[in-house]
Amino acid sequence: MGDMQTLSRRAFVFGSAAVAGGIVFGAYGPAEAAAPSADGNPLAAGLGPNSVTFNPWVEISPDKITLIAQHADIGQGVGSVQPIMIAEEMDLDPGQFEVRFAGPSPAYFNTGFKEELAPFLAADQSPEAEAARAAALESLRKSGLQMTGGSSTIPDTYDKLRVAGAVARETLKAAAAKRSGVAVADIRTQSGHVILPDGSKIPYVSLAAEAARIPPVLDAQPRDPSTWRMLGKPMTRLDVRAKVMGELQFGIDLKMEGMLYASVKLNPGKGQPLKSYDASKARAMPGVKKILEIKNGVAVIATNSWYAMKAVDAIACEWAPSAYPAEQADHWKVLESSFKPEFLGKEWRTIGDVGAGLKTGKLVEAEYRAPYVAHQPLEPLNGIGLVNDKGMEIWVGHQSPQAVQAIAANAIGLKPEQVTFHNQWTGGSFGHRLEFENVRVLAEIANQMRGTPIKLVFSREEDFLQDIPRQIAIARHRGSVANGKIVATDLQLASTAPFKGLLERMGTPLKDPDPQLAAGTWNVYYDIPHFRATSYEAQGLSPCTTWRSVGASTAGFFTESFIDELIHAAGLDPMKARIAMCNVPHYRKLLETLAEMSTWKGPLGNGRGRGVAFVESFGTPVAEVVEVTATDRGIRIDKVWVAVDVGKVIDPVNFENQVQGGVVWGLGHAMNCEITYSKGAAQQTNYNHHEAMRIHQCPVIEVRGLENDPKVRGLGEPPVPPAAPALANAIFAATGKRIREMPFNKFIDFV
């Protein structure tokens, strides 16, 4: 997918600038020699007296154990499972350690991205594919890029956190051996203590000082999964209780001494500047302290968020026009005219002779559409910023710590290392917190209010207006069927480029075709003799970015709906045909499992219908069956069955919750949501216009996790892409109506 070398060089400049030598787990020498240097353990810098850190994830002081969560928690539960992977190996119990989010450091580079960066299909385990992944890993190591995304947390951390815990455990045992004179082999660990042969117990914290004086046991191995106490078992997420009790502080809940509140109004023509404004009315409003002009808008500083929001609303602004078409109809026109050689992204995959294949048998052609959609996690964009002569401190929930530093620094003329970033628990993201609208304006505001901590909260309306949406796309697919088989499939889509857009705004533009426009189009695992997958990149449209499951969220709908059309044209059963065509054994097993779970028996009749879809995204194959009934009040979704193969289910309860949530996300937005532009601004500015799914539309969702994949895979996004096509295919089965455009509620009513 793309030229990997070019991608890694260009895309990850932040990391490259920050790291000199590169980081290898366990290669930074004994703990006593660890220094807060570019190639060292970042925890060494903040270590108190008589304390020890064995690696960038474990810190023990005389009074507490702290485990570091390097990936941001955006609701997907990694603020829990990361420390538990360490705790499993350290023989720590929940409650015996604190969890802290990592600061920016190349030590936390994301190894998980190697799967997505290597230009091979996920199911391809050939030596060539593995060599490309190994090369991708090396460039990631050099880049030092620390980022949460691409469903990569578990793939990135599954090995390294268990090893980090094992190193800590074995080093603590070695320290206890030295103190007691007992052989290490006779020492064990349990529940935060080293246990000596005579049964006496030494708490880990009391060994910190001694452990700091011996070399860490770097060759420690993680345990066999059959011995796990917590992992793989129905454990309780560490954050559940605090969230239920209302005790967990999200970024938006923080308060500081002397803090003032800010709200902003920014040019709704995304990215364009302010021309002029009139704040005379706002100035006289209650609670208002100051009106500030910033690059692309205005800000009000007040004594309460609500005062700030009300006052900023009263400012009349004149905006520079948007750089993209002002009206939505013209966005579609640009897409329609993008299926041309000059807009070619890439022909990602070609099998056989597609031209000849399309001339065989019956030709099927269809056009599909997917609109812009907003992210809109329930916690609006926010942050606290404090600028003084030394630099800036920023408290914000974000998925790219180094990019936060760079964006904030660039906005106010600092160096990235002058920006101190404190990551926060967040109320969702879905890709929203990979962007920087709040970070940049917060830096500008705090810089104009030096010495005063400023809490910025976007109003929901402003958050919608500034939400950089999911890509908009059109697919023009052709295929042919003969003798009850699919002969040829020519998949073509024109789309805005989400991943390229993100990289460009990070200051590291990518010249290669956007690899996310291959996702869901090229990775089709059906035996089709003639196959081609091509992307075109539309130019001059709205900026777009990664939205939960990214390219596959649109392309998965296009591909799996069209495959369904071909299957029907060939007179086949949608489930049996997919199973018969599937050319990866454990993916076929996944489909067979789904058929068994849902007791698939073909058409249901009586206004009821079932649809199936299968999409691999971010390496994780997911297949879903949706069952609907056509009632006199509209389509009712009765039930959804989901089979997912992640290689290893690490956190089973959260696994089910994530899969169900992904299905709800995929269905709800496909049914009910679009962002359209008028006068250059998004027309949908609150949830009543962009509702997604509410509880009354939510079906029963039955989930099964499989462990046949040879690799441990991520899960945050992959349940999303099959949901929309499975629903559309079910509606077809129930009503005979083929819906080829999202949102579906433009074409059919839902109960």
Binding site: I74, G75, Q76, G77, T236, R237, D239, V240, R241, K243, V244, M245, G246, L248, Q249, F250, I252, D253, K255, Y261, P286, G287, T303, N304, S305, W306, M309, Q376, P377, L378, E379, P380, G427, G428, V457, S459, R460, E461, N654, N657, Q658, Q660, G661, G662, V663, V664, W665, G668, N686, Y687, N688, E691, A692, M693, R694, I695, H696, C698, V700, I701
Partner: protein, 154 residues
């Protein structure tokens, strides 16, 4: 000065009477379980109880709340024994958790008026509470479990 009772304690705030209760709780009193999600009664994240009824605190002007009794999730009695909170923990409902305090306050109100709600009744009462993470199957299960536990207590 406007006087109100929050979680059993008398508080005074010096704000305009139009200010929504939500922002009094969050920015003036530092009570943060009530969340800002939409500001227009579309998400339910700000749900609190006023004189025992579930209310969207973003829509309640503080001038009108004066003299009334406000209870936020922080102020629930005997939280560790509360069947709704217990069920929410047992079923591990939250993902990001941002909407859950509002969901819980709404669910408590639901169970106070309908001790054993059907799925249809749950849908009706809970559909004003948006969850972007999609925890609805677990919300439903937790409400049924809490209802069963409450019945068992009686």
């Amino acid at each position: 000065m406007i006087e109100l009772k929050v979680n059993g304690i008398k508080r005074q705030v010096d704000v305009v009477p139009e200010m929504p209760l939500l922002w009094v709780l969050r920015d003036e009193l530092g009570i943060t379980s009530a969340k800002y999600g939409c500001g227009v009664a579309q998400c339910g994240a700000c749900t609190v109880h006023i004189d025992g009824k579930a209310v969207r605190s973003c829509q309640a002007h503080i001038g009108e709340v004066a003299g009334k009794s406000v209870v936020t999730l922080e102020g629930l009695h005997n939280k560790d024994q509360n069947p709704v909170l217990q069920a929410w923990i047992a079923h591990q409902v939250p993902q990001c958790g941002y909407c859950q305090t509002g969901q819980i306050m709404q669910a408590i109100s639901l169970l106070a008026s309908i001790p054993k709600p059907t799925d249809e009744q749950i849908n009706q009462v809970m559909s004003g509470n948006l969850c972007r993470c999609g925890t609805y199957p677990r919300i439903r299960a937790a409400i049924h479990a809490a209802a069963a536990n409450k019945m068992a207590e009686k």
